[in-house]
């Protein structure tokens, strides 16, 4: 598993255009957060530190998601076929590759917050036990979502653009950049099924000085993420079944 992760990381580092694209994609969230704060004047008890944290979290989500979507590339290169010939379960390989994204995402966040520390004292507040636990849950949510997206796009090209659009939606509906309560009620309900909404609510609570998240909040967040993880595993299973039925990754 470690060898697979290492090779995945080596490949990403060697793909300079990919790295550059990743950096650009990450930076747009920092810019988005800046716009939100400047234009909408949304206040948060943590002030500027919160918006730096939020930018960092979105940056790490982007990295995790970018690793997840590499599965489609493997389909094109037919390396997925060679994996299918081997006795290693596809799920194990995909988890190893995506875990790499999880680690890199957290590393990116760490670097971002280390830079942010120069400007805001509370930048490292995210690494307190409760906030960090919620942060990890949110990453797992994005990890599951990226797995679903990449596998769905491996199944069907036209599905790719649709499921790809779910990711920015998940970012918006997570409530990380602004309170979802500001949006119309039906959209608010939609946010409840987002894989990152509950972890972010928990994170926000745990960051508040007066409040604080409870085990209940954590349980609810874990449940919402677990549902997505189960969905991702089911999609892998579906993909393998389809592959052994048609002998190739199916495009309708």
């Amino acid at each position: 598993m470690i060898e697979i992760m290492r090779m995945e990381l080596v490949q990403v580092v060697r793909e300079k255009s990919y790295l550059f694209g990743l950096l650009l994609r990450s930076m747009r969230y920092v810019f988005l957060m800046y716009l939100i704060v400047r234009v909408w004047h949304i206040r948060n008890p943590l002030g500027g530190a919160y918006y730096l944290l939020a930018s960092g979290i979105m940056l790490s989500w982007t990295v995790i998601f970018a690793f997840g979507t590499r599965t489609y590339q493997e389909k094109i290169q037919r390396t997925l076929d060679t994996i299918m010939v081997s006795p290693s379960p596809l799920l194990r390989v995909l988890i190893a590759k995506n875990l790499c994204g999880l680690i890199c995402g957290t590393l990116f966040l760490l670097i971002f917050l280390a830079v942010a520390r120069a400007f805001v004292d509370q930048a490292f507040i995210l690494f307190a036990p409760w906030p960090f636990a919620f942060y990890l849950l949110s990453c797992l949510g994005i990890f599951a979502l990226s797995l679903c997206v990449s596998l769905a796009s491996a199944l069907n090209w036209s599905l790719r653009s649709f499921v790809g659009s779910l990711v920015p939606l998940a970012y918006i509906l997570s409530g990380i950049s602004f309170p979802v309560e500001l949006l119309p009620q039906p959209v608010h309900w939609l946010a409840w099924i987002s894989p990152v909404y509950w972890p972010i609510q928990g994170l926000k609570l745990s960051l508040k000085e007066s409040g604080g998240a409870t085990i209940g909040h954590f349980g609810l967040s874990a449940l919402s993420v677990a549902w997505y993880l189960i969905l991702a595993v089911s999609v892998v299973d579906l993909l393998v079944r389809r592959f052994t039925r048609y002998g190739e990754w199916v495009n309708f």
Binding site: R14, E15, Q77, T82, P87, R245, G247
Partner: protein
């Protein structure tokens, strides 16, 4: 000979409509190089996908070393591997050595064994210093060598080659053929799907001819020519003078030959006969003709697989 692959009444229908395989039966013996030939859409790739556990057949059964591949695909995956043709199935941003290490990890090859086996594979496929270069810098031939090395990472007993000569120049074709032969010498069983009749003729002990999912023939080339009742008479003349030219133009007394090669200086004529007796009679008739010293070769032999293939599939 022990049959390592046993295929019985194999059928596969794609989407309930397209019948890719229709009642295929055959056996592959241990240590054999077995060719699967057929025109496009014959069902070659479907067959290899089923044999390599990538596809579940609609009907029929396949046993590899006595194990039912439908019941125990994971056990089968340990003893087989697939060598793809072309540049697919490799990580371009990894070196050859890293690719091998990665695929060995997929087979849970112990770390101690890994390094030694990688060196062995690099030596066997003559990757040399290129093993430490990125795959994207490889030529088509080098990629094919790496494909072969990759297909051997788990030291499989059976290797499937899917169009191994795709986009290779003559030099690398010879190298790939010699690698395949040395694999067979090491006791591996090779199943080769190919369009190249010359490859099948040169390396395969037996061939399976498929057409629209059905087996047309399974056996060696001698058996195929016997079945088709074809014997080839080949005549080669050089230094063509007026007399010979007239003879060639007006036709010889023994029927219309197929002119294989003709220039101002030399000509090669072939006749496909339906029996050895007929072929020998024809060759005697030809030998009685007055060729002066211009006759270079007159032989009676089995026709090349390509001719039999064309004869079988009625292609012009």
């Amino acid at each position: 000979m022990n049959a390592v692959i046993k295929v019985e009444s194999l059928e596969h229908v794609y989407g309930g409509k397209v019948r890719a395989l229709d009642g295929v039966d055959f056996e592959v013996n241990e240590g054999e190089i077995f060719g699967v030939l057929g025109p496009n859409g014959a069902g070659k790739t479907t067959l290899v996908k089923i044999l390599s556990t990538l596809l579940v057949p609609t009907k029929g059964s396949v046993y590899i070393k006595g194990i039912d591949i439908l019941k125990n695909p994971r056990r089968i995956k340990r003893v087989i591997n697939v060598c793809f043709g072309g540049d697919q199935g490799l990580y371009w941003n990894l070196t050859g050595r890293e690719n091998l290490a990665y695929f060995m990890e997929l087979y849970r090859c112990p770390r101690k064994v890994r390094r030694r086996r990688i060196e062995e594979l690099i030596e066997f496929t003559k990757l040399g210093e290129k093993a430490d270069a990125l795959v994207r810098t490889y030529s088509a031939g080098m990629k094919q060598r790496l494909q072969i090395a990759r297909a051997l990472v788990n030291d499989p007993e059976i290797v499937y080659f899917d169009e191994p000569l795709v986009s290779l120049d003559v030099h690398f074709v010879e190298e790939v053929i010699s690698l395949m032969r040395s694999l067979a010498e090491r006791g591996k069983t090779l199943v080769v799907t190919t369009h190249s009749t010359s490859l099948a003729e040169r390396v395969c002990n037996r061939v399976l001819l498929l057409d629209r999912g059905r087996v047309l023939f399974c056996g060696n080339i001698y058996e195929l020519s016997k079945m088709l009742r074809k014997v080839l008479v080949r005549l080669k003349v050089h230094g063509i003078n007026k007399e010979i030219q007239a003879k060639l133009r007006n036709g010889l007394p023994c029927g219309r030959p197929r002119v294989k090669k003709r220039s101002a200086q030399e000509a090669e004529l072939q006749w496909l006969c339906s029996s050895w007796r007929e072929a020998l009679a024809l060759s005697q008739e030809l030998s009685r003709e007055n060729w002066d010293d211009n006759l270079e070769a007159l032989e009676v032999k089995l026709p090349p697989l390509k001719d039999l293939f064309l004869e079988m599939f009625h292609e012009p």
